[in-house]
């Protein structure tokens, strides 16, 4: 097998490698210094979009990890319209703990390691720089070659790990890519989605899969309508249900020609329930997606025991050295 073929093969799997990369992108005005909107003043639609971006990028934490605890890991389950189910297990470590000084070039680093499927043993390190004009670095450890290769940033509408989630949904979409409008405030009325035939069942890597989350019913949410600025895009606008206190986006509905085409539900948990802590210090418990055009479902489940944050870990962990240590 020649080297070119191997590289090509890995390139074709590139989108799957991206599975674990949630958000290290920044956009004008959103970084870990973003404060909560002042109490008593209703936030604008743009402000809500920025806060949602903050929560989804874990800026409330110095570092945030979904690790491996024994055999327990985060798992992404995809179910095709024909009922075929596939799964990928992974771990991920995000570091936002870089100096907020002008001489510090790095904004954040994100390390992902895959433990199952065709990507087993693959690692990826993404570096984001403070200079927004500068491209991000994507370095992938290719176990078959035992070498690190650099890649270009994927497209916003590329599928994320073969799931119904796109790279835009998970990480790349910035508040400035859309115009935002507040359509109202009400209570969330329904449970969040799951692949219902797998609810509560024992599953490889994740242990017992969760049941549908109904904890958020009757929590007050903003309806945020975000219209894309991209031309000929796969959706026209999306409506997000955003918690009025924590800015967790529990649900997003995607519309094309005023028809609902896709749903994404996210179950969130607060890491620290003590009084006075940042209400945006949240983590994902699961993501569920359903594409009405194809019938495909995706469910990313993050077991609580693999979540770790603000860990005492040197910045040297987020380097190529760690990639080279990955065992297949």
């Amino acid at each position: 097998m020649n080297t070119q073929f191997i590289v090509g093969k890995w390139l074709s799997r590139f989108s799957l490698v991206w599975l674990s990369l949630s958000a290290t992108t920044t956009f004008g005005g959103v970084d870990r210094t973003l404060t909560l909107p002042p109490e008593g003043t209703p936030p604008s639609a743009e402000e809500i979009a920025r806060q949602v971006y903050f929560a989804n990028h874990f800026y409330a934490f110095k570092n945030f990890s979904i690790e491996r605890r024994g055999r327990t890991m985060t798992v992404l389950i995809n179910r095709s319209s024909s009922g075929k189910v596939s799964a990928t297990a992974l771990e991920r470590h995000l570091n936002n703990n870089y100096q907020l000084t002008p001489d510090e070039a790095i904004q954040s680093r994100d390390l992902a390691i895959f433990h199952s499927g065709k990507l087993r043993g693959t690692g990826m390190l993404v570096t984001e720089y403070r200079d927004e004009q500068k491209n991000k670095d994507y370095m992938v450890w290719l176990p078959a070659l035992r070498k690190i290769r650099r890649f270009a940033q994927p497209q916003h509408d590329d599928a994320w790990g073969g799931s119904v989630f796109t790279f835009g949904d998970v990480t790349l979409r910035k508040p400035e890519d859309e115009t935002h409008e507040l359509i109202g405030k009400k209570k969330l009325r329904t449970c969040l989605g799951t692949i219902d035939e797998l609810e509560g069942k024992h599953y490889r890597y994740a242990g017992e899969l969760p049941e549908r989350s109904c904890r958020h019913i009757n929590k007050e949410v903003y309806g945020l309508k975000s219209t894309t600025k991209f031309g000929y895009w796969w959706y026209d606008y999306r409506i997000s249900y955003v918690d009025t206190t924590s800015f967790a986006d529990y649900r997003t509905l995607y519309f094309k020609d005023d028809e609902l085409i896709k749903v994404i539900d996210r179950d969130w948990g607060l890491v620290d329930s003590e009084n006075g802590s940042d209400p945006r210090a949240l983590f994902w418990k699961y993501w569920y997606g359903f594409d009405l055009r194809t019938g495909q479902e995706s469910w990313a489940v993050i077991p609580q025991k693999v979540v770790n944050y603000n860990k005492k870990r040197r910045n040297s962990f987020w380097t190529e050295k760690t990639l080279r240590k990955i065992k297949r």
Binding site: S81, I183, D196, E197, C214, L260, S273
Partner: protein
């Protein structure tokens, strides 16, 4: 000829199976979609009209085991705890109301059942110590 017929039948069978699986999926998710559409309509109408017998609106009144509880009130939360962790529930049930409320609020925020269970035992032992004094 016989082989051709056999392959035709197989093709028809696989097509029919595929169709029925597809329909099954949409049927399975239709309850979920109906519920989220009703939820979305509330933004325009200002009124939430839940689909009848939906298992996606957190109702306690259905026999379907998949139906989620809203956990909005303490009674729902207690029932939920009794179902998922009967052992912890024995200790939880003996706790004073203020501790129960605290645990309920904590669950609404974090959704971390393991932490709730730990706190149940922590509060139980605290109370025990207080009684001994």
């Amino acid at each position: 000829m016989r082989q051709l017929k056999l392959s035709q039948s197989l093709l028809t069978l696989s097509l029919l199976t595929g169709l029925s699986l597809g329909n099954q999926l949409y049927a399975m998710q239709s309850g979920y979609l109906d519920a989220i559409k009703a939820d979305f309509d509330e933004f325009n109408s200002g009124v939430f009209e839940p689909p009848p017998e939906s298992t996606w609106i957190g109702s306690l009144s259905t026999d379907n085991s998949n139906a989620g509880l809203t956990y909005e009130n303490l009674q729902d939360f207690s029932l939920f705890l009794k179902e998922v962790s009967p052992g912890s529930f024995i200790f939880y049930n003996k706790l004073p109301a203020q501790y129960k409320n605290q645990l309920h609020q904590q669950y609404l925020k974090t959704g971390n059942l393991d932490e709730i269970k730990k706190n149940i035992f922590k509060y139980s032992s605290e109370i025990k110590k207080q009684k001994l004094k």
